[in-house]
Symmetry: C2
Subunit: 715 residues, 2 copies
Amino acid sequence: MSIMRYISYSILICFVCTQLHAQKMDWQEVEPGIWKATVGKPEQYNLLTASGVSPYHNGLMKLEQSKFPLLKSEITAKIIDGKTYLKFPLDKTEQLFGFGLNFKSVNQRGKILELHVDHYNGTDNGRTHAPTPFYVSSKGYGIFINSARYLKVYAGASVQRDSKNPPEVQDRNTDPNWNPHPYSDGVEILVPAEGVEIYVIGGPTPMNAVQRFNLFNGGGCLPPRWGLGFTQRMERLTNAAEVFKEAADFEQRGYPLDFIGLEPGWQSKSYPNTFEWDKKRFPEPAKMVADLLKKNIRINLWINPYVSPDAPFYKKLLPYTASHTVWAGVVPDINTDSGKNILFTALNKNKVDIGISGYKIDEVDGGDGYLWPDLATFPSQTSAEQMRQTYGVLMQRYTTELYQQKNLRTYGLVRGSNAGGVSFPYVIYNDYYNHQDFITALINSGFAGVLWTPEVRASNSPEEWVRRFQSNVFSPMAMINAWASGTKPWTFPEVAPIIKEFALLRMQMMPYWYSEFAKYHFEGIPPFRAMNLENGFQNITPIQEKKNDNLEENPYAKAMVKEIKDQYMAGENLLVAPMFTGQKSRTVILPKGKWFDFYTGKYVGDGEVITTNPGLDKIPVYVKDGGIIPMMKPLLHAPKPDEKVDIEFRYYGSKPATYQYYDDDGETYNYEKGDFSIRTVKISKVKGKCVGSITNAEKGKPNTTKKITYKMMTL
Amino acid sequence: MSIMRYISYSILICFVCTQLHAQKMDWQEVEPGIWKATVGKPEQYNLLTASGVSPYHNGLMKLEQSKFPLLKSEITAKIIDGKTYLKFPLDKTEQLFGFGLNFKSVNQRGKILELHVDHYNGTDNGRTHAPTPFYVSSKGYGIFINSARYLKVYAGASVQRDSKNPPEVQDRNTDPNWNPHPYSDGVEILVPAEGVEIYVIGGPTPMNAVQRFNLFNGGGCLPPRWGLGFTQRMERLTNAAEVFKEAADFEQRGYPLDFIGLEPGWQSKSYPNTFEWDKKRFPEPAKMVADLLKKNIRINLWINPYVSPDAPFYKKLLPYTASHTVWAGVVPDINTDSGKNILFTALNKNKVDIGISGYKIDEVDGGDGYLWPDLATFPSQTSAEQMRQTYGVLMQRYTTELYQQKNLRTYGLVRGSNAGGVSFPYVIYNDYYNHQDFITALINSGFAGVLWTPEVRASNSPEEWVRRFQSNVFSPMAMINAWASGTKPWTFPEVAPIIKEFALLRMQMMPYWYSEFAKYHFEGIPPFRAMNLENGFQNITPIQEKKNDNLEENPYAKAMVKEIKDQYMAGENLLVAPMFTGQKSRTVILPKGKWFDFYTGKYVGDGEVITTNPGLDKIPVYVKDGGIIPMMKPLLHAPKPDEKVDIEFRYYGSKPATYQYYDDDGETYNYEKGDFSIRTVKISKVKGKCVGSITNAEKGKPNTTKKITYKMMTL
């Protein structure tokens, strides 16, 4: 056989091999603009079955139509040795966002990640609290891999030899522009299972793809109104008397307070946990909770899922626990009916049923050393890996169910989540505590289908305390979690007035936050999200194409040079640009369109980079032209369901403006049955004066507004 | 059914499930003191088949006998869903060493690791250049998992619920000694394959277990004599004229030089590579190599395995390459006969066959972005994962074969290795460059079956240059790899005399290093290794038991408090305690027995912590009582095979001393056929005078010694 024939023959063999492994993909439009393909034999247990949620079909129906956004032939799947190999196409200029709650980067193109529920440890490598296997392309589509396995992702970081679009071959010896990361024409994903469900999610915009993803996962959560107020966590061994004193201190000093968090010491033992009130520290929990509720203050309880031999239900639970313990506590298998019932009965009894408002679910993420090992086994046959990828979701699901049964909303904290958890009313937190990276996480939360709080803990200086507090106020949960140091809002007297001003601002803005969360629920729009999802900020040509441009003329080129990970959108109308300790000034990139100062209403710029030096008493916040912000007076607690409040609609800029104002009872799930109102606010400037109107709530639908006023902020 | 019956029934089901998965293990003694068990269906391709080596049976026969070191019933294996779950027992006081080339820690107990060939990235998490799946217990046995997969290891970091030795249940609320890492009674290892070969390796000492592991892998490598001299790497775009000038500069200034390394620019193109000499920079490579060899100077060539389309063999190789490229170069599948032959023919032609002494094999380790992805496929059907775990071993194996065919030894550099690579004459290096951690890696290399060089690159100060150089001299390869900065030994004139003194000391000690490497080969004793393998340093009770002890009376308690990772044994008789930049003094922990200063012969201590402040011109080195160090005069190049040298045996302390002095031709593999001599040196102090003797070499066996003298160092 000649060499040439031999080569041809070998290539043929390779080709045949590849063809043998190749999987045919049949794309079905399962919801408007969402296509599903099933490769091989997907596992029964996945992110969607773990969450148990259904798509919010009505929301999906309202979105603009979308065509299948990719060339079907360019999506390929193979199964080799029990693993599924996926490839999705990638243009030279495309940017990728998502792949979970990253803390250091927004654009994920070029990354190699192992999506793995874990404590975030300082590197965007896929190990994080919510490693959601979903990404969004700047071209306006999304991809979701519905697998509860550790997925290995090459996000434009692998190059196939036989690619039709190969990278240039360079010579490092002599080429000064030699590129260590040659162009890759695909996102490749390795699924360690013999099949998987894949979803392609249409746009046409990246925001539309995010919306579809969130709505497909049931729509974003709608917290109770009080959840959007202010919360303080107490020292771990505190007692009932100190809790009452804390509530009284807040009241007396004029700081808002909606719920108080109790740390491990509410239990008789912790790490592992008894899930029983400590009788000395909390002799009458039901009475304490009831007395506090009368003051409109709620209690949130810390837990982790590891059960002490001293828990009253330990023996009953034992057969439904994992093969391995954590801190010598057993791990409930909540994928068994019995395990689930035993644990959640305990979480209900003397807790939810006496009025506890929610949980802080700790230690369901990792580090590896604080969780069951990958070779643990569970009675339900769920593998340790699948359990790790979903335990946080399961805990959210079943605690939420306790509240659904009472027709009362909860709003809690959790350290681990994933796709499927979008609709659960939980906010992620961790111990990483880098302020800048906390803001980047807030940005990425909007791609990951989760909420994130840049909580405030101990601070080294009054400045740090203020800077952290200010951004915390523009986040899903305004929380001081300084229980270890015992820091209170007023601990730094020199800045206490600033802290109070922002704590009260949080309360004033409650109508805005509530309407924006309604958009998360009904439309899938993340309340906190990247600039990249904002009109006028998109269609940015990537850095390679721009590096010779004049940066002063084209801020977007600079925006690409330095990834924009320190400013974000908060609701429909606000751009927030936090200040960090040590900064006297900062630059802010304003998308195209006019922007106005949130506090003064003054014009600040249009599609440009501005520099601001706001002083310690302000966090830079900007409102888009025609932006409306509904506000109320600075109450110390969220209004009760039957409490009507005055609403002031603040109007910025000069464009005729429209706003959808959401209202309901603020506490129950009745909105799911249609018990809500969405009222259209219109404001325009007529002869230099502000003219506003609001539609009436439909008859019989909730209306908690009293007096309505309109305020022209831009004079 | 009553609850109790239900529980019993469920427990029974769990028990049955566990039993169903449990694998029977049949332990066979395959070599003296080495037992093998086969679990499930092990994969055909593993670390031993990749290396192709056979145990060095004669060496194993000479070791003290060992019983099976563990209770067989305490070693368990299960196979669940295509993965193998292993557990080995662990006592409360046991310490664990090994699990590959770690850089920050010596004692691995408590670690969770994924053994994964990779560039070391600053964390001891299993991702390293040689993630050898072998560990040694302080109790005197070893465990080796013969798998080329990514193994997940819980080294005493996982707790089984039904353990017979459960950890104490504590209450974090009130117990100030609450332990975040409760006692684990086992090492658990997850093998992602439906079976595996396991080896239990007997002692009775930890050193014996290490020796058995090395001998089982063919015995340690024996470098050519010149490999233990001095090497300098040149600027990447250097040319033949500059190479000659470098050689002349070293000669003229009186610095030793045995081989010169050429970086990527020796090739016409690199990254990807042509494997062809650049005709402008190196017009006559064969003549250059021959001319240098006449001066007793050799050439080493940098390569990585990624092949440029401009390589002359590219088209022929193409069918035998991976599905993915690296830097747009194809990846040879050297597990196909054709791929292997094409690549290694190219590495022979005009390189090995013209006298090139060896290779520096780069980029066979990772980071993930500089290697094929985990979803690459190879024509040989070797998975990307298995290929990654073994590519460095395969490259070592087949380059070594080129030299074996010429009956000439090589000594090169490689960035990736694994178990199976023990016998290959390669030294690992990387870009991490933390001096302290480089020393810890040197210590751990002795547990991992590899050699490691703490090479010298650019330094920020004369002090750093000296401190790095001094420890480099007491390592497997004394190398300056400062090609990017072009630093020469004499670049810092103020310390050049110190550098020269230590470069020459390296040459003087060549007889010692050579005899010590012979022990690596014939007896499996690592030439560079942890204090923990030294008699008088073992049997240290762990920290938990010691924390109330008086540290001044018991240095080992302190030794445990601060892990000993900055001093090491070099050969049979030397303890090296490097100084790091900024240090004026340091403490050294001396094992039990008298110790003496290497330079002066003076007594320094016995089983105690000493403090030394040696000044910049010395690295602290100590010799044990009765230690003999064979030295020669400071030649500028290793002696040629036919060159006889005077040997001075330096004798330290007062104990009657014995030393096994090894000799052979220094260049060929004839020693494998018995062409070597081991001569017994005896020295004792008689009436204050040094009395020495040496046995003759057997008739017809190599003897390269001329005059022999004995020098009493301790007066």
